[in-house]
């Protein structure tokens, strides 16, 4: 396993970007992913981003801050971010750690996350009339 060379794929489907995080991220990889997603948002004009963390066995304060930072940055670019699939043990630990993730929406799984984004997109369209 070479920790240094891993790259996280970003998949585009219709208006959405799907980011499956499959590795235990070191700090540089997390920061790199953040800018990679923002670049991809700009390039594809995606309306929503689903970040799948279902295989992540831990989220520490660094990764937690990276995720909430990304949600705020994406919001400025008029894109919604939903974090999907957080393991119960990770959620428990985050709360005990006292880490708040303001502005971060979460969904139980990819399907629910997608529905959340679609609802949001629809309500935004109606708003603009």
């Amino acid at each position: 396993m070479n920790l240094h060379e891993k790259k996280i794929p970003i998949i585009k489907i219709h208006d959405y970007l799907i980011v499956p995080i499959q590795v235990d991220m070191h700090d540089k990889l997390a920061i790199q992913l953040q800018s990679q997603i923002l670049e991809e948002i700009a390039k594809t004009r995606a309306k929503g981003v689903l970040i799948d963390i279902s295989v992540l066995e831990m989220v520490d304060s660094f990764i937690g801050r990276m995720l909430s930072g990304m949600a705020s940055m994406a919001a400025i670019m008029d894109t919604s971010v939903v974090i999907v699939g957080m393991q119960p043990a990770v959620a428990i630990t985050l709360v005990e750690l006292g880490l708040e993730m303001p502005g971060v929406d979460t969904a139980l799984n990819m399907e629910k996350g997608m529905e959340m984004l679609e609802r949001r997109l629809k309500s935004r369209k109606t708003d603009s009339f």
Binding site: H26, M58, S61, A89, L97, G98, E100
Partner: protein
């Protein structure tokens, strides 16, 4: 190295250096494996892994790295996984403040020590200005 008031009778499982951010990931995975091997449940595995990750990052960010001792032993009739993090960094000026709950890692301020403490069963810290900081945490099986 700073000494804790009492020594525990335990087996050394491993000794590691935290020099790079890759070491943070590697060593926390090693600790998770030990926690698993001891028979800790998934939530406790996650708690100890997250706690050490916070401590390693502090060593890496504030002290340029440090050393980690992983031990297993019986402490107060508990089967304990013991992780000691030692650095030779600047030390923490006001330990009481650093340990108080308003001083969390929430917005990137402070060392996140109160949160880390909540994740483990025993948390001990010693710090001397310009000499370094040693944190020892324990998780009962």
């Amino acid at each position: 190295m700073l000494e804790f008031p009492y020594n525990t009778d335990c087996d050394l499982l491993g000794k590691f250096k935290i020099d790079t951010e890759y070491d943070i990931v590697t060593v926390r995975q090693v600790i998770r494996q030990y926690a698993k091997d001891m028979g800790m449940g998934i939530v406790d595995q996650t708690r100890i892994t997250t706690a050490v990750s916070e401590l390693f990052r502090n060593m890496y960010n504030y002290a340029g790295g440090g050393e980690v001792l992983i031990e297993r032993g019986e402490v107060e009739s508990h089967n304990a996984l013991i992780v000691t993090c030692m650095d030779q960094g600047p030390g923490i000026e006001n330990l009481e403040l650093a340990m108080s709950d308003g001083f969390t890692s929430g917005q990137g301020m402070g060392y996140g020590l109160p949160g880390t403490k909540r994740l483990v069963d025993r948390f001990e810290i010693q710090s001397v200005l310009n000499e370094g900081t040693t944190v020892r945490i324990m998780k009962w099986k």
